[in-house]
């Protein structure tokens, strides 16, 4: 019996990893299809703009709020230890670097994944199970272009903008947090923030948010587009869209850090 259960475990693991690898393969094919199709006419420009509004503008209150709180809390948490080392004047620089390089992009992308990834997954999932995607297909519209390309492109373009605005809000929150302890003028605070930053901090941070946005969009669409097993599948699509894209954000972040490290951009 022990031997058998061991064998069973091996079977289950190999089967699951097979499913996992298959999923990765399918996701890659799906992503490749995006790049193949997005430049070819016809362009779903109206839908793209609509999605930009829904995906970008409508997410601003949420990401803005979290960014503001993050900036405020980060500063308040840093303050005691910076006082301890007598370098509280370095808070703007530290918070600036932390927010612009890492906290802003990743936090915003995670919030974005939670909000947009799930909504795309659920929307496309329910369209799939109620045959709306098939209906588009038979009415001569390429649903991949109409649904997947527009949403993925919109989240790819909107996330960087969200991140830039959220970064600014975050820094403002940090400024207010700093003002709890000591009076700093707005100008001085932002001078100090910008003195510690270089162009090479901003550009890679913005570029990586393009990838984050792409990951959230394409994974949400992928999960929704291949939903099966009815309404239950819709919930699962939304859920796994969030989980997979969140993990993907961290993986991409790691990769981007490695690359920028190799390129020695911060020198």
């Amino acid at each position: 019996m022990p031997g058998l259960s061991k064998w069973n475990a091996v079977m289950i693991i190999s089967k699951n990893s097979g499913v996992f690898l298959q999923e990765i393969g399918e996701l890659s094919r799906f992503a490749a299809r995006f790049w193949r199709e997005w430049l070819r006419p016809r362009y779903e420009f109206r839908e793209f703009i609509r999605q930009c509004f829904v995906i970008g503008y409508k997410s601003l209150p949420l990401t803005g709020l979290t960014a503001f709180i993050m900036g405020l809390v980060l500063t308040m948490q840093l303050h005691p230890s910076m006082i301890y080392y007598g370098v509280e004047s370095l808070i703007p620089s530290m918070v600036g670097i932390a927010i612009v390089r890492e906290v802003g992009p990743v936090l915003t992308a995670l919030i974005f994944a939670g909000k947009i990834g799930s909504s795309i997954g659920a929307e496309l999932g329910s369209m799939k199970v109620t045959e709306q995607i098939d209906a588009m297909e038979v009415s001569g519209t390429n649903p991949f272009k109409y649904l997947v390309v527009t949403r993925t492109a919109a989240s790819m373009v909107m996330l960087p903008i969200l991140v830039i605005i959220s970064d600014s809000i975050s820094l403002y929150g940090s400024y207010l947090g700093n003002n709890i302890y000591e009076r700093t003028t707005f100008i001085l605070f932002f001078r100090q923030v910008f003195d510690s930053l270089v162009v090479a901090d901003i550009i890679p941070a913005v570029i990586k948010t393009f990838f984050f946005g792409f990951a959230v969009g394409i994974i949400g669409c992928f999960k929704g587009y291949f939903t099966d097993k009815g309404t239950e599948g819709v919930g699962r699509a939304a859920n796994s869209a969030v989980v997979v894209s969140s993990v993907m954000i961290f993986i991409l972040d790691l990769v981007v850090v490695q690359i920028t490290d190799l390129m020695n951009l911060y020198d």
Binding site: T130, V138, G140, N142
Partner: protein, 243 residues
């Protein structure tokens, strides 16, 4: 009446170990209403999804309006799909869009050539055909089942297709509403001269709409004939449908 608009030869489709279609043959002639009868789960929906190209068959040949559906590229497929109307069993209305947007959606391919007034005219005419002009600004969720079916039909009609594929147009509707739909199907044929493939297991619908009936049993076309001929058949696999 003998020109064929759809001809299917040796169509087979297997899902896993479930052989749904097994060398299915069928011909739809121009201007006729052909009903496909079969019990639930016999593969009727799979059959018409193969015709429109939503499901790719394992084997066989499908010709629609003289073109082999399985050898077409994306653009050619879209071109021919415009000529085929498809009424989904589940209606498949876009529930994030108003009725108007639902109806405009199939027009999008041509919308850059159409003036807004013209688009509006086409939408209202399609709604008039199904008697639901007042619902133009409603959302699908606000409609009853019968209204949804009619809106779906209006959406199918808006491009004035040569062929319409009906997937169980009357299932789940009360007898009065289903009679309305049946009358609509007949009216459409009278008005536009379309050829129709009507998939159903509703006897009344078959009786009132079909010129010819094909029986889908065990994945292939068991027999074709007219209503009276099949009803008087002594075949034990056919008679249960007509009892």
């Amino acid at each position: 009446m003998n020109e064929s608009v759809i001809s299917i030869r040796g169509l087979s489709k297997t899902f896993g170990t479930n052989r749904v279609l097994d060398h299915f043959d069928l011909v739809l002639h121009r201007g006729e209403n052909l009903a496909v009868l079969g019990k639930s789960g016999s593969g009727k929906s799979v059959l018409i999804k193969c015709i429109i190209g939503l499901i790719r068959p394992d084997e066989g040949n499908i010709e629609v309006l003289g073109q082999n559906m399985l050898n077409l590229n994306r653009e050619e497929l879209d071109d021919i799909r415009v000529k085929i109307g498809f009424l989904f069993q589940s209606n498949a209305l876009y529930d994030s869009m108003t009725v108007r947007d639902n109806l405009e959606f199939p027009l999008r391919r041509h919308s850059f050539r159409l003036a807004p007034a013209e688009v509006n005219h086409m939408v209202m005419e399609a709604l008039r055909n199904v008697g639901l002009e007042h619902a133009v600004d409603m959302m699908p969720a606000e409609l009853s089942g019968g209204m949804r079916k009619r809106i779906a039909l209006a959406r199918t009609l808006i491009l004035k297709p040569e062929i319409i594929l009906y997937d169980e147009p009357t299932t789940g509707l009360d007898p009065i509403t289903s009679l309305e739909i049946i009358n609509l199907i007949n009216a459409i044929r009278g008005k536009f001269g379309t050829s129709s493939l009507i998939i159903t297991h509703d006897l009344k619908c078959v009786k009132l709409t079909a010129d010819r009936i094909a029986m889908l049993i065990d994945g292939h076309c068991h027999v074709t004939g007219d209503f009276e001929g099949l009803r008087s058949s002594s075949d034990e696999r056919i008679s249960p449908f007509f009892s």
